[in-house]
């Protein structure tokens, strides 16, 4: 009954030069699954996403994406960066941004064709922003920009989707739209990995949790990983004890 594996971490450790950033990540993301990367700031969530994109090398162990190395699987992976890393003054329209998701399919030296424009329009409609197609990217709200970047990833028709803190500073409407779209993609068979600070959201919406802080504290169903013991271990001083009623993560 379980879907085939899309992403396999086998005792993977990632280092920048000789400095280890993240150690001993071990687990599987299946097709159609949404897995959240959670952990405090500096835990290595972004590092793990970069490793999945083949942008930082795996120092020991291995990461396999769709049966290949991350660098070889690039055309099947789409990445959604944080919208606020992009220049809001850049003169590029929403449609132009979404079309970027098609560039690898279009290939060198050729302009986007009819099919690419249709795919971009469809992706934009999927995130509920068809009416903003002609507007400049920077004129949209932070949440809307995040949705445009998700549309760009969808336009690439990926088999694996990686999102870096997509819910940071996003309004409720956009968060709902992002979640609905991500669920649809997973229902369509895509493997989704999303890093987030929001433990509640991760628990409610994800099939699996990978709890990190420099190394892995747990990888599995939310009920198994989001336990007081593991959270206390991963968050350390950022965890606030509530007597015998449990624990909350006060800051991350």
């Amino acid at each position: 009954m379980s879907q085939p594996a899309a992403i396999v971490f086998d005792q993977a450790s990632i280092a920048y030069g000789r400095v280890p950033a993240l150690e001993q990540v071990h687990g599987t993301v299946r097709k159609g699954e949404i897995v959240a990367l959670v952990g405090p700031n500096g835990a290595g969530k972004s590092t793990l996403i970069k490793a999945l994109l083949g942008l930082v090398p795996v120092a020991s162990g291995s990461i396999t994406v769709l049966g290949r190395s991350p660098a070889q699987a690039r055309r099947q992976i789409a990445y959604v960066p944080q919208a606020d890393t992009l220049d809001p003054d850049f003169p590029v329209s929403v449609t132009q941004v979404v079309l970027m998701g098609r560039y690898r399919r279009i290939g060198w030296l050729r302009p986007p064709g009819r099919a690419d424009r249709d795919a971009a329009a469809e992706a934009l409609a999927a995130v509920g922003l068809a009416h903003r197609a002609a507007d400049r990217f920077g004129t949209l709200s932070g949440g809307q920009r995040q949705r445009v970047l998700l549309a760009r990833a969808i336009a690439a028709q990926p088999e694996a989707l990686l999102l870096d803190e997509p819910f940071n500073g996003v309004d409720a409407v956009s968060q709902e739209a992002l979640l609905a779209t991500i669920r649809n993609l997973a229902a369509g068979g895509a493997a989704v990995v999303v890093s987030t600070h929001d433990l509640g959201l991760a628990q409610l919406t994800c099939d699996g949790i990978c709890l990190l802080n420099r190394h892995q504290f747990g990888f599995g169903p939310p009920g198994d990983v989001l336990t007081p013991d593991l959270l206390r271990a991963a968050y350390g001083g950022a965890a606030l004890e509530l007597g015998d009623r449990g624990l909350i993560v006060a800051r991350s």
């Binding site: 994109l53 083949g54 942008l55 660098a71 690039r74 055309r75 992976i77 990445y79 960066p81 890393t85 992009l86 220049d87 850049f90 003169p91 590029v92 329209s93 132009q96 941004v97 079309l99 970027m100 560039y103 690898r104 279009i106 060198w108 030296l109 302009p111 986007p112 400049r136 690439a156």
Partner: protein
């Protein structure tokens, strides 16, 4: 008005100057938009300064016909070097560029200062001599313009992606260093093409000012490119006509290259003022 805009260009040397200036206006306008988007004004400035000793050596070796080959060698080397520096991502890029540009420039100045006709030639290298342009110079500029057109059309979408979201481009498997090498080489070629007409110092204005003015006037990339080309060409025409009118009609000698730049800057100032006024009215 027609007299002012057309009559000066009856003379063959003015016709050649106009053709060269219009080509450069279009070339610099289009490439300038990419310089603006990538914030490469400083890198462009560094290339213009590193080209300077090449220009001087070329001139010393084989006179005027040596200038373009000399500039070309230096520009290509500088573009490759700067791409490599950016790719290492370890050194402080700004400081390295600053050291290189001043070092190369100083070498050029020393070479020039050893010549007898020091001042006259230095001025020509730095500020160009659009009025004594010959057909061979125009051919060089035309070839670079066609090449730039082909690169911007052929690699437009990849260069756009690289400028807008380099990390995503890298994640999608694009080689950023290769793309940067292409665009740096293109900028280097534009500098080489401009050396004879406007000199190494004023090229930067031809690249940056029309694009910056166009960006103020539009939010759409296609429109910005078209406007930058138009502004570059009209500025070149008006600048040449103004310089001629002042020199011949009123006996006030205005250097042609610098006048073109001042016309462009005046246009930029007008657009800025216009926008400020519009914001005030809206309030």
């Amino acid at each position: 008005m027609i007299d002012f805009l057309v009559t000066p260009f009856d003379r063959p040397y003015m016709t050649r100057a106009l053709v060269e200036a219009l080509l450069l206006g279009a070339l610099c306008g289009a490439v300038g938009v990419y310089v603006l988007l990538r914030r490469l004004a400083f890198l462009t400035d560094a290339i213009t300064h590193t080209v300077f000793p090449g220009v001087v050596v070329g001139f010393l070796v084989s006179g005027r016909s040596g200038i373009v080959p000399g500039a070309l060698v230096c520009a290509v080397a500088a573009a490759a070097l700067f791409t490599a520096i950016a790719a290492t991502r370890r050194v402080n890029e700004d400081a390295t560029l600053a050291v290189l540009l001043t070092a190369f420039f100083a070498v050029g100045v020393i070479l020039v200062s050893r010549q007898r006709s020091y001042t006259a030639d230095l001025t020509a290298f730095l500020f160009g001599h659009v009025l004594t342009i010959d057909t061979a110079d125009i051919v060089v500029t035309a070839v670079v313009t066609v090449l730039a057109g082909l690169v911007l059309l052929g690699l437009g979408k990849e260069l756009l992606l690289r400028a807008f979201d380099p990390e995503w481009a890298r994640a999608a498997g694009y080689r950023i260093t290769a793309l940067d090498l292409v665009s740096n080489m293109l900028i280097a070629l534009v500098v080489v093409a401009s050396v004879q007409a406007v000199g190494t110092v004023l090229v930067i204005a031809m690249l940056v000012v029309p694009a910056a003015a166009a960006r103020l006037l539009s939010e759409r990339l296609g429109v910005i490119v078209a406007l930058a080309v138009l502004v570059g060409m009209v500025g070149a025409w008006l600048g040449l006509a103004t310089s001629y009118e002042a020199s011949v009609g009123h006996d006030v000698r205005l250097a042609a290259g610098a006048t073109i730049v001042l016309v462009l800057v005046a246009f930029y100032a007008l657009v800025t003022l216009g926008q400020a006024a519009r914001r005030l009215v809206r309030r």
